[in-house]
Amino acid sequence: MTAASLGKDLVGLEPLSAEQIQLILDTAEPFKEVSERAIKKVPALRGKTIVNLFFEASTRTLISFEFAEKRLSADTVNVAAAGSSVSKGETLVDTAKNLEAMRIDMVVIRHGASGAAQFLGQRIRSNVINAGDGKHEHPTQGLLDMLTLRDRFGRIKGLKIAICGDILHSRVARSNIWGLTKLGAEVGVCGPASLLPRHVEELGVTILPRIEDAIQWADALNVLRLQLERMETGFLPSLREYNRVFGVTSDRVAKAPKELLILHPGPMNRGVEIDSDVADGPHSVILPQVTNGVAVRMAVLYLLAGGAPDWASDGEGQR
């Protein structure tokens, strides 16, 4: 009995302690098994109502959250910004107050503005879970990446993880940096200098200037999706050159001094940031990441709803 609860909201991994992150990962372990059953349902959130409020398009994250909610027996409603009152100019604070008035229990929000999840959480009594806010954080992605690493290596502490690609615009990168460093991993960031945020080294990460450096250094690469509009906005010359200089190719991976794990939060641009033979190859844990995503989200929903951590303790240490 150590770890505190998570509090009301999960807006990011930056505000969490190592113990809280550990608690989520440990709680996810028994939930993995639920998804392997013939009847994939436990009654943990029966009677709870959850709104999935997605202001940005999403397939994977939305479906993953929805499965997590349904496998916990919650009642769920999906709201997409297009076609809703939001498209009629309603402000986020009004949307929040209206949801509150319908007495919902939890909101899962994805929004294009950094800070939107925190903003919502400060204004409603319901639990708020950040499913990605602007360039700020995507905490459940960070958690599922960590769970996948822990599955493969049996630990996080001491691992060397290189996050590769567009760090500047990436909420996945920020959540990974916070979560991994809190659990004692070494984090490197690798990408064109035009896509590295200012003073990023002050977050406790090592800058790896070239992809070859990252491959030499790391136990695992987390390869970020390259947003295709970065060319138009002048951050990069071309996709072709990006692949030539920063692409994770099988030739480069073959030169790794140790067995290298490859993660990718998806959706992939095959042939841009990652080559198909790497993505589909033996080093890739891209699909196990997706499987873990459901378990991690079940754990977060369960803990925020007030579930006792002990319930999950039979899964601890069984990796």
């Binding site: 806010d133 700020h136 909420r171």
Partner: protein, 430 residues
Amino acid sequence: MRPILIRGGRVIDPARGADGVADVYLQDGKVAGVGRSLGSPDDALTIDASGKVVSPGLIDLHVHLREPGQEDLETVASGSMAAAAGGFSAVCAMPNTDPVTDNQAAVGFIVSQAQRAGKARVYPIGAISLGQKGQQLAEFGELVGAGAVAVSDDGKPVVSSHLMRTALEYARTFGIPVADHCEDPTLSAGGAMHEGIISTRLGLKGVPSAAEEIMVARDILLAEHTGGHVHLCHMSTRGSVELIRRAKENGIRVTAEACPHHFTLTHEQCEGYNTNAKMNPPLREPEDREAIRQGLGDGTIDAICTDHAPHHYDAKEREFDDAPNGIIGLETAFGLAVTELVGTGVLSLCDLINRMSTAPARIFNLPGGSLAPGAPADVTISDPAAEWTVDPARFFSRSRNTPFGGRRLTGRAELTIVRGQVVYRREGDA
């Protein structure tokens, strides 16, 4: 008009280097005399200023009064009342109104609204370009004829160096400064705060210091080239201060202003996505704040201005990216300046009055800034030792957007006289 005798205050007049206990006698809208134990006619209003500071009225070169166009946020009347309550006897209103103050009728409207309100003086600043679109020069001659004291496209940078050059040249004809909002829009586009470690952590697009400094450097070069007078608005970075310092050493006609929030706060204020810390230029780093203070201390930065920018509370009650820039400042500026600059030894009280009254008057060639006999009877009586807590609910401004609510300050205006008439007297004052 009833004469006024202000008795026994500490009279600070930077224009004459005077600082000592004296009486000030105001008659017919002018300073009639300053001296010991002045007599006065029986009908004079006598104000006891013992223990207080009597100075020329404060002058703010940079406010947004929102009229015409956004009168729900502020009006000339409410803004000039807020100014008086902050100890300002005069403010200069930026032209980014709706419609833009880019013609003599618009300038005349603001002048007449200010006269009707009868509080602090309001001097309009005309636009540099028609509609602030950055293309065609506005009619500076007509603007000045109607009462404009400077030109600026503030809120928007003058992107075209050619336009800035011709504005500086053309403004020389009328003896007015060109006030520039220094920002390279290709570097600042989409930016919501200062680019640094905090913007990296919050995942907000940053505005690098270079976005300001590039334009400061350009404007200095153009001022040198044209011989025109460029006035640089709301300086926020250490690099800008250094550029201005060197330009002044080289005798270039450049003047500059800085805002209380830039010498008080840093980008850390944006933590938690605090939209009342969102402004343009953004709050910068501790080293920048220190450089602004040093610049005010050594005169590199001539004037303190507020960039008073009223916004409705619900405009700030939203996502950081979408919240508007700016805070109000008229009713906190003097207290912040005394607390942060005099209280820390950066400026003497006399130097502070210079930065907030005498220097602004000189830069924009305004009446006031002096208590010499014959000067306008614009006087601020302040208590530099008064301790108070900022309570936005008590502001005279129509807006409440300030990051300083609840802050303890030292120094407050007690009474403001404009044109020989008391336009503000703090409630409860003896």
